[in-house]
């Protein structure tokens, strides 16, 4: 277990380093000088030169990469070119929207997918099963931003149950904010819940075929007892992997959905930063998201090998 943890940690570190190199040097080739962009077209060349010096733009790319990465490790994300304030503060302001949104959507995904998947698997071939399979096909094929627009049309404009967009801020009260995140979370969750329900169903169908389920039934357990006591737990392994992967889809998908609902989250921050050539913000946000995704997958891997020792030898 220790050996496995160490090798996995090693490859985690390599992944993070390579990811940071890719992100930094991709953005390095962006045309346009941040200093002249910040000061506008009427700026004096001397002022631009002074600002370039202040921002450290005159150093070699490698030197800037090293100082970026050492600051990053210490939790200092640098100073935004346009906002002139610490990136960590700006990001934190946006994270309080994006993170709850992703968590809310993940919770909905699981709450929908588990019962639906189990329900379909235990009624294999029935009308219920077939409609679940058809419904999830639709859920996978629907573009989530379009689904979001349809929900705005129905629930915000026609029924007036929700507002069409915007975020009041957590100060306005917990439930008000949760309500503002509900339509975005549902539209993020729908495709992921469809995928997860299908995985849950097929994984459960596989375990229900196993000999130990027949043994459990033979020794007198009811179908429900065998399901709860033996099948579910074993069916969860592939389901967990998918949940880990879905976290990254939820984070990235939030970028698009935040645009539909005018939510001031990380996604909108990235778009603004790109159009303002605020590279340090783009770099930090992208790195943060990639870090989160790599970490989640690492933890899922470790959690598995802890639960299932057979997996330690693989890879």
């Amino acid at each position: 277990m220790l050996r496995y943890t160490l090798t996995r940690t090693g490859s985690l570190l390599i992944s993070l380093i390579v990811a940071s190199l890719v992100i930094f040097f991709t953005l390095e080739v962006v045309p346009g000088d941040p200093a002249s962009f910040m000061l506008g077209i009427n700026a004096q060349p001397e002022t631009i030169a002074a600002l370039r010096e202040e921002l450290g733009l005159n150093q070699s790319p490698w030197a800037r990469y090293l100082s970026w990465i050492t600051d990053l490790v210490q939790g200092d994300l640098g100073t935004s070119y346009t906002y002139r304030s610490p990136v960590s503060e700006i990001v934190a302001e946006r994270l309080v929207i994006s993170l709850p949104l992703a968590a809310y959507a993940l919770a909905l995904t699981i709450l929908i997918a588990f019962p639906v998947g189990i329900w379909a698997a235990t009624r294999r071939g029935s009308f219920a099963d077939i409609s679940v399979m058809g419904g999830t096909q639709l859920g996978i094929a629907i573009p989530n931003f379009w689904f979001a627009m349809l929900m705005v049309l129905v629930f915000a404009i026609n029924l007036r149950w929700f507002s069409a967009g915007g975020f009041p801020g957590w100060d306005e009260g917990f439930w008000v904010s949760i309500k503002a995140l509900t339509l975005p979370a549902i539209s993020l969750a729908l495709p992921q819940a469809s995928i997860l329900a299908r995985v849950m169903r097929s994984s459960l169908l596989d375990t229900l075929d196993e000999d130990y389920i027949r043994t459990a039934r033979a020794k007198g357990l009811t179908k429900g007892q065998a399901l709860r006591g033996h099948a579910l737990r074993n069916a969860l392994i592939p389901v967990l992997t998918i949940i880990g992967l879905q976290f990254s889809f939820l984070l990235a998908g939030a970028i698009i959905i935040e645009n539909v609902f005018f939510l001031p989250g990380l996604g909108r921050l990235v778009f603004q930063a790109i159009s303002q050539r605020d590279l340090i913000v783009v770099e930090s946000v992208v790195m943060l998201l990639v870090f989160a995704v790599i970490m989640v997958n690492f933890l899922v891997d470790l959690a598995y090998s802890w639960v299932d020792p057979r997996l330690r030898g693989r890879r």
């Binding site: 991709t26 294999r124 639709l138 931003f145 698009i256 992208v286």
Partner: protein
């Protein structure tokens, strides 16, 4: 089987729409008729008109070209780079080369694809070509992984052993014996990646990072409709259904093909 027929019919319908649009569309998709703007569906304009009075059916037909072109090239990138990498990794399985290829695959997987697509289009400017590259890059590890996985089991077969005894090298075995046998799987995976490509293109165009005006694209039609769809829901409904039905058709076709090719998976229709 029903799925396959339904899926293929939907797919063919949209490919036909795109092909016909080269020869004929009900109206010129660029002609503006401001007096006729936001007209609901009618006999003259089957799908209605948009905020500039353009015929939505014509725009959807021409937009299908963009979606199909982007998705085909993106899948092409994935296959031409991913399949050789997968074959190589399988032929040298266990070596450092295999390790490097598979670890780099994991790394690309770790990036939220949409985020990197946004980064690439941000750096090199929004355009259909950059959208293709951004989507295509993420197809490489998918095809590499599928190819390697299937190829690994093929390498243990007797006919590969026979080929080795006959003196064929790793390259010839990969090309002559492994590749033809993983082809089926690649076709299935290709259909799935094709549908994902259409969804990704729509999302990128929706946020303004895909095909640029005047090239019509379904994603941008949805973006254009965003401020007006309360007044005229049809301008949102038709492009959305176009995306939904195309993706649905490709997914059903992919599932159907898989069942057809590998009957073992068919039991219990999963």
């Amino acid at each position: 089987m029903r799925n396959l027929v339904l899926g293929l019919s939907l797919t063919v319908l949209f490919v036909l729409g795109a092909v016909i649009s080269f020869l004929w569309t009900p109206y010129d998709h660029t002609s503006l008729e401001i007096a006729n703007k936001l007209k609901p569906p009618s006999l003259a304009h089957w799908f209605g008109t948009d905020h500039l009075g353009r015929d939505i059916l014509s725009m959807i037909m021409v937009g299908a070209r963009t979606s199909i072109a982007v998705a085909i090239v993106a899948v092409g990138i994935g296959i031409t780079l991913g399949v050789p990498l997968g074959l190589l990794a399988a032929a040298k399985s266990g070596s450092w080369l295999d390790e490097v290829i598979m670890r780099s695959n994991d790394l690309i997987f770790a990036f939220p694809s949409l985020l990197i697509a946004i980064m690439i289009t941000a750096v090199f400017g929004p355009s259909a070509v950059n959208a293709i590259i951004a989507i295509g890059i993420f197809n490489i590890p998918v095809f590499a992984r599928v190819t390697r996985g299937a190829a690994l089991s093929l390498w243990t077969r007797d006919y590969v052993l026979a080929a080795r005894v006959a003196g064929k090298g790793g390259f010839r075995i990969s090309v002559e014996h492994i590749l033809p046998n993983v082809m089926n799987l690649l076709i299935v995976q290709g259909t799935i990646q094709f549908s994902l490509g259409i969804l990704a293109e729509a999302a990128l165009s929706y946020v303004g990072l895909g095909a640029q005006p005047p090239t019509p694209s379904w994603g941008r039609m949805l973006a254009d409709s965003q401020t007006l769809f309360m007044l005229a829901p049809h301008i949102t409904l038709f492009p959305g259904f176009a995306i939904l039905l195309t993706v649905l058709g490709l997914n059903l076709a992919g599932d159907g093909l898989r069942d057809l090719i590998d009957p073992k998976l068919r039991r219990g229709a999963r």
